[in-house]
């Protein structure tokens, strides 16, 4: 592969325009097929039995009564999913999370499943399964779980990352540390120090489409899986490994996906559906209920974070330190570590230290949620930064500008930054009219910054040119928010043709090479790189065919604006050949014309955003209203600006929900109290104002068009921006997210009582 990914500084004719997405009409007419919209002949209904206990030994499961019920075709337990993980600890955790093996580790943990001829029979069968539990003490709070007296969730966990291996097991899976310099020295140099502790509650990605799949295992060992997922190739690998299937014989088709936000990067029900189908000998459709989605899939970490930051009176930060404790659910994770890496990434710091603790609790296995772990760390750090700016009498934007990381700064997580956008987003915010707009009584304005790494990864794309000159683009990253439009624009740009001539589809696992998960804001970044590469390969073929048609050397043919052009004096009378003309002759010049690409899209540029918001607080009730909201973020290059804006707005809205009302509420019994959209309160239309956006374009040097990922960063600043706004509105520093009305009112009352 001789693909050159470097930024070329070229001008664009398609990229940067805003055409209608290719999958749009299907989606506004109800024809688009999502996870639950697919059916197979002879299909059964799958349902999962879940533990009502937060922590319990499974002594025995008796499925005999359920098996005898008329219409039940298969009942499975962990015994039907034998351990084929071969010492791979991460895969074993996935297996155990799909179906509890020895212990139920959280309210909602799957313990058995049935396949029956209809939903009613399946429901009845679940009631006939008898599980003998030995209920154990449980722990759901992250701080409680760290105490020596806490119930032990896994006695094989001995904290990693300590100087000496501990002699006793604990709920702390791992300690990690990042930073450089000497924070003790740095704090000694500070004129002012802010030190505070913060908590954030667990949230769910809240995608509107529950997990859904249709699995069909044939007697010959081949299988099909239709599923809503962010990464069908990864699902294929995981399912094949857990079921003992050959990966190439398991075809996974990615349905339209009704939201993921990281929550559809993990298998849950899919191996169960395959196991049911294998046992029943018939296709099985398994769709989670909303209750199951909340209890058993998704959530992000609950956290407890201590932050200490010191600065000189001139506004220079001299030292910054944070201790971050993140819940992982009942399995090992690396969530605190990501928090520790991202916490101070926006700043240029001589002395910085962060320590992360991964904490096991009796809650669902923590899953990625849009820039996972970064929003909570940013909430703590950006709250403290705001307070410090106030304490030394500096404008919060100026204070951040003074300390902002720039090209050449050593990031708090290690490497030195290339060209980055934190400074420009802050300058844009400083000059934004929003910052100067007047505020009314009980209103406050807050701002905050956010960082996310962005990923690339393995990517494979096919570009096929039909004989009529139209182009089909087959990609392997999942379209979670309009990427088929963006990738069609990129193909059109590179080939020099019109957008309307390109049609992009998401190919299944048997039609295209492996693609990594569509995560880390990589969809458009990675697949556009592969699309450019595939288009360049196709252009090479197009030039060869034109050369044949003209009977001249291929080196004399160049590609310009969608046409082959013969170069040189001697070819002066040849004119040019359009893509369409070359395609029409392809049958006679060597067959179909295509361009393929398989590459690792590395070098995703890091991403920064700064948000501004105005909040009104009712001091009598603690009720809040978001009055105005502005997102400023670097996109590198916005391929389809409307969908970039959409990512900014959507991330901000999720952050607003998290900041104000969304949380997992557990009862003393360890059961989730609010597994539904009624009491897990995501923002509704009337909760939000218009969300203004400003796209900055600081080209990524590692992408031909300068593209950076844009999907995740927008959820990082809102928690802190809103906390700062509330603090400015009512004069009380809020340290516990979500800032629900009871929490705000309690804080106000405490302040009034002095």
């Amino acid at each position: 592969m001789n693909f050159d990914p470097r930024y070329s500084g070229r001008s664009f004719s398609s990229v940067g325009t805003r055409p209608i997405r290719p999958d749009g009409v299907d989606k506004v007419t109800g024809r688009a097929r999502y996870g639950a919209d697919f059916n197979m002949a002879g299909q059964l209904v799958g349902r999962v039995l879940r533990s009502p206990h937060a922590h319990a030994v499974i002594r025995k499961i008796d499925t005999s009564k359920a098996e005898k019920l008329a219409g039940v075709k298969a009942v499975i337990t962990a015994a039907d999913l034998p351990d084929l993980t071969d010492g791979d600890a991460a895969m074993y955790d996935i297996l155990d999370n799909c179906m509890a093996r020895k212990k139920a580790l959280y309210d909602g943990h799957a313990v058995a499943a049935v396949a029956a001829i209809d939903a009613r029979t399946a429901r009845q069968a679940l009631k006939l399964i008898e599980v003998d539990y030995e209920v154990l003490p449980h722990v759901t709070d992250v701080d409680e779980a760290m105490k020596h007296s806490a119930p032990l969730i896994n006695d094989a966990i001995f904290t990693e990352g300590l100087e000496e291996k501990p002699v006793k097991p604990s709920n702390v899976y791992k300690r990690t540390q990042y930073g450089h310099g000497d924070v003790h020295q740095g704090f000694a140099e500070a004129d002012m120090i802010v030190e505070r502790s913060f908590k954030t509650e667990q949230t769910h990605q809240g995608y509107i489409e529950p997990h859904a799949c249709v699995a069909s295992v044939n007697p010959d060992g081949t299988a099909d899986l239709w599923v809503c997922t962010q990464g069908h190739f990864v699902y294929r690998q995981h399912c094949a490994q857990l079921l003992g299937l050959e990966a190439s014989k398991l075809r996974v088709t990615s349905s339209e996906i009704g939201g993921g936000f990281g929550g559809k990067t993990h298998v849950w029900a899919e191996p169960v559906a395959l196991a049911l189908s294998r046992k029943a000998g018939r296709p099985v459709k398994l769709v989670m209920t909303r209750d199951e989605v909340f209890r058993a899939s998704g959530p992000t970490s609950a956290t407890s974070i201590d932050v200490k930051i010191g600065a000189r009176n001139d506004g220079t930060i001299t030292a910054a330190e944070a201790t971050l404790r993140y819940s992982c659910g009942p399995y090992a994770g690396m969530w605190a570590e990501i928090g520790a890496m991202t916490a101070f990434a926006c700043y240029k710091l001589e002395n910085v230290k962060t320590v992360g603790y991964e904490v096991l609790v009796n809650r669902p296995k923590t899953a990625a949620y849009r820039a996972p772990s970064a929003p909570m760390a940013a909430f703590a750090v950006e709250s403290a930064v705001d307070e410090l700016a106030k304490d030394i009498g500096m404008d919060p934007v100026d204070f951040r500008i003074k300390n902002a990381a720039q090209e050449g700064t050593r990031a708090s997580y290690g490497p030195v930054y290339g060209p980055i956008g934190i400074g420009p987003t802050l300058e844009a915010v400083k000059n934004h009219p929003h910052m100067k707009a007047p505020l009314k009584q009980n209103q406050g304005r807050g701002m905050a910054c956010g960082f996310w790494f962005n990923f690339g990864g393995q990517t494979c794309t096919d570009l096929n040119i039909g004989m009529d000159g139209s182009v089909s683009l087959a990609v392997g990253t999942v379209d979670v928010g309009g990427s088929r439009a963006s990738l069609s624009l990129v193909a059109a740009e590179e080939l020099g043709i019109d957008y309307s001539q390109v049609k992009a589809v998401v190919a299944d696992t048997s039609s295209l090479g492996y693609n990594d998960m569509t995560d880390g804001s990589r969809g458009t970044f990675s697949s556009s790189m592969a699309t450019i590469s595939a288009a360049r390969n196709a252009i090479k073929v197009l030039r060869e065919r034109a050369a044949q048609m003209w009977d001249i050397p291929v080196d004399d043919v160049v590609w310009e604006k969608g046409h082959a052009v013969a170069k040189g004096e001697k070819h002066g009378n040849l004119g040019k050949l359009s893509l369409k003309e070359i395609a029409a002759q392809s049958g006679k010049t060597g067959g179909p014309i295509a361009g393929h690409s398989e590459l690792v899209a590395d070098g995703a540029g890091v991403s920064f955003a700064t948000h501004i918001c105005d909040i009104e607080v009712d001091p009598e009730t603690g009720s809040t209203r978001v009055i105005r909201y502005t997102v400023v973020q670097d996109a590198g290059k916005a391929v389809h600006p409307t969908y970039v804006e959409g990512q900014y707005q959507g991330g901000a809205a999720q952050g607003i929900g998290w900041a104000l009302n969304e949380e997992y509420i557990y009862g003393k019994d360890g059961r989730l109290q609010n597994p539904g959209f009624l009491d897990y309160r995501i923002p509704v239309c009337s909760d939000l104002p218009m969300i203004d956006t400003q796209i900055l374009e600081i080209p990524n040097p590692n992408h031909p068009y300068g593209v950076r990922g844009v999907g995740e960063t927008s959820i990082v600043p809102p928690l802190a921006a809103i906390a700062n706004a509330v603090s400015n509105a009512v004069g009380v520093r809020m340290t516990h997210i979500p800032m629900s009305p009871p929490r705000i009112l309690a804080a106000l009352e405490a302040e009034r009582e002095g």
């Binding site: 009613r120 996906i257 939201g259 909303r290 707005q649 239309c685």
Partner: protein
């Protein structure tokens, strides 16, 4: 359990089906009639993804029994376009990119159609409260509200 025979009208077409007494209209539409445009996001009336119109009333089809459809007029997303002519709301949702994943889109379109039928010239606040029964997790609602505003303007001009 005795099945209930139902005779009803869906998107102007006469339809007959047999359903179980506890089966919801949403289940009937999706599993018996192949009309999968209405989605089940929650099954409890909290997300609006299954919105349909029954006798000019906007409802969640997950909170209606299939048996209750007897003799009613039901409108679903599949009947919103006229032939190859998209409804102005459908067209404006496309133009404004008022959808990202699109799972909530059929419900929003049906709810917005009902809203504009009852209030052809809504303010932003009326649109926001009128669509509060439909959850969207991708867009932050901004582009949805703008699409509805734009469609309202187009429809007003069309009716002049």
């Amino acid at each position: 359990m005795a099945g209930v025979a139902v005779s009803t009208t869906i998107n102007g077409d006469h339809v007959e089906y047999l359903c179980q007494p506890d089966e919801t209209l949403l289940d009937v539409l999706r599993d018996r009639l192949g009309l999968t445009g209405a989605k089940e996001g929650c099954g409890t009336g909290d997300c609006g993804a299954c919105s349909v119109i029954v006798d000019d009333r906007l409802v969640c089809s997950c909170l209606v029994l299939g048996a209750e459809a007897e003799g009613r007029q039901i409108e679903t997303i599949e009947g919103m376009a006229h032939g190859d002519q998209l409804h102005p709301l459908q067209q404006k949702f496309l133009e404004h990119a008022a959808l990202q994943c699109g799972i909530c889109t059929p419900g929003f379109l049906i709810a917005a159609k009902d809203l504009l039928a009852k209030n052809p010239d809504p303010t932003e606040e009326e649109i926001r409260f009128g669509l509060a029964g439909n959850l969207c997790r991708c867009t932050g609602y901004d582009k949805i509200v703008r699409a509805v505003q734009d469609a309202a303007n187009v429809m007003k001009e069309g009716s002049r």
